[in-house]
Amino acid sequence: MDILHLLTDPLAYGFMVRALLAAIMVGIICPVVGTYMVLKGLSFFGDALAHSILPGVVLTFLFGWPLALGAMISALVAAFLIGVISQRSTLQEDTAIGIVFAGAFALGVAMISTASNYAVDLTHILFGDVLGVSTTDLWVMLVLGLVVLGAIVAFYKEFLVLTFDPVLALVLRLPATALRYLLLGVIALTVVTSLQTVGIALVLAMLVTPAATAQLLTRRLPPMMMVAALLGVFANVTGLYISYYLNIASGPTMVLVSTLIFGLVFLFAPGRGIIWRMTSNGGRSPAGASPTSR
């Protein structure tokens, strides 16, 4: 079969097998965590966090330390600074996020520019280098990924309460602040895990796009997570093959496939897509609107 060959031929290369495994892992982890980001409105925070990681990544790269370590430290410093600025001034939190994110990113780029002889490839950090994933990278991803998914499962009901109704979390005497930081930590860990595959600039798409698509298709959180993970894996694997055959950069291709799926669902989703609303809305209003709200 030709189709079978289309799928198996690239796997003759070791780097393609590793890339495929990385794409699948990231395709599961990111959308599951991204579900909470979509529901809690943390997209901008996630994007900022990813960019703030740059100085740490460059530093660890230059000293030959594990990439994940520097990224984690950067992420924690950034989250801490954002907290300090927004709490100790009259500025809004998103302003604080913006300041820290742009500043940290500039610092990272400046560091790269002075160390160009070390051949730090900015485009790889920005847009990922899934074809350069090593076996060690895969193991690190697997361990970090299991930690992330473990936390999501273990604290499922607490994260659900925290996301849906933070006041209830306080009324039930859950350790709301600790849980919030745990969730932010899980997001940071997820960003670090997927850095190699999609890079700093595009990791947001991995986190948010499949989760947003899944929200249009589901009515409960566990199915939303599962559909998001399925969409993530599908988009990443499809994107990887397309990038192989059409010779397009792989990270952006995965993101484009994911975006395309979102577009289709946005248009055609049963019940919530805009085409469905336009065509089958004659007379009866969508059940989703709360009829008595002012």
Binding site: A154, L160, L221, G288
Partner: protein, 300 residues
Amino acid sequence: MPLMTRKIPTHDASLPAVELENVTVRYDQTVALDQISFRLNRGDRVAVVGPNGAGKSTLFHAIAGVVRPDQGQVRIYGSVPGGHICVGYVPQRKAIDWNFPVTVTDVVMMGRVGKMGFLRWPARHDREAVHAALAEVGMSAFADRQIGELSGGQQQRVFLARALAQEAELLLMDEPLTGLDMPSQEAILTIIDRLHTHGITVMVASHDLNQAGEQFPLLLLLNHRLVAYGPPARVLTTENLMAAYGGQVHVVHTTEGDLLLTDTCCGGGHDLPLPELAHAAPPVVQTVQHETVESMRPPR
């Protein structure tokens, strides 16, 4: 770690269900609550009334232990609210994302999370508590609906069920009747009546003075400070309402008694100038006799 075993204070029924002593809450420079003191007994039903921005939500947050008073003390059955998980809170409807992917059952089950403890999944008695709570508010048939698919009154009943599943003994409801049609309002008022017979203490924030006075045996009139507290006849006096609503209420002395003009509803407490009200065709005013307001409806 004492995370798994939470100490829940035992309730001494002889102590007041709620007791506030000189509670002051400030946000930055502004005083949201100013030296509030009052006491509720077990099973009391109180409507908290006052203009928009009077601190009704802040009062509830302070009682629920979500906001810590800058001064003074809140006591629930004799101990600070922090240790209690018996305080049920029904948020304003606009505080909830109704597109959130949760069903009615999911929301009511959230009430059980405090009792379950970490790393535990719902057990049979949790599911039974959820079923019972849904039955109590007449929402069993909607258990699998996504919350956005419900009417406003149904949504309110789901959050009531969540507080019941939590086994709340003190229920704080923030504007539960706002924006609902009359049958929905009555359904919720009926449920609140029933809760009272179970010994559950209920506080309801409202800006419908008329309804509050008719439906609740106790009123608490608030405008940052406690203006009046007691039975409606004692609270709804011209003097008290002037004190609470200030520029939003206009008193006109006529031969038949005092005439009280008000715009209680909505809109962030803006002033309606008197001449404009006077020109409005349907009478938006009520005659006040013996300085007691019988009925005050917002302009239709």
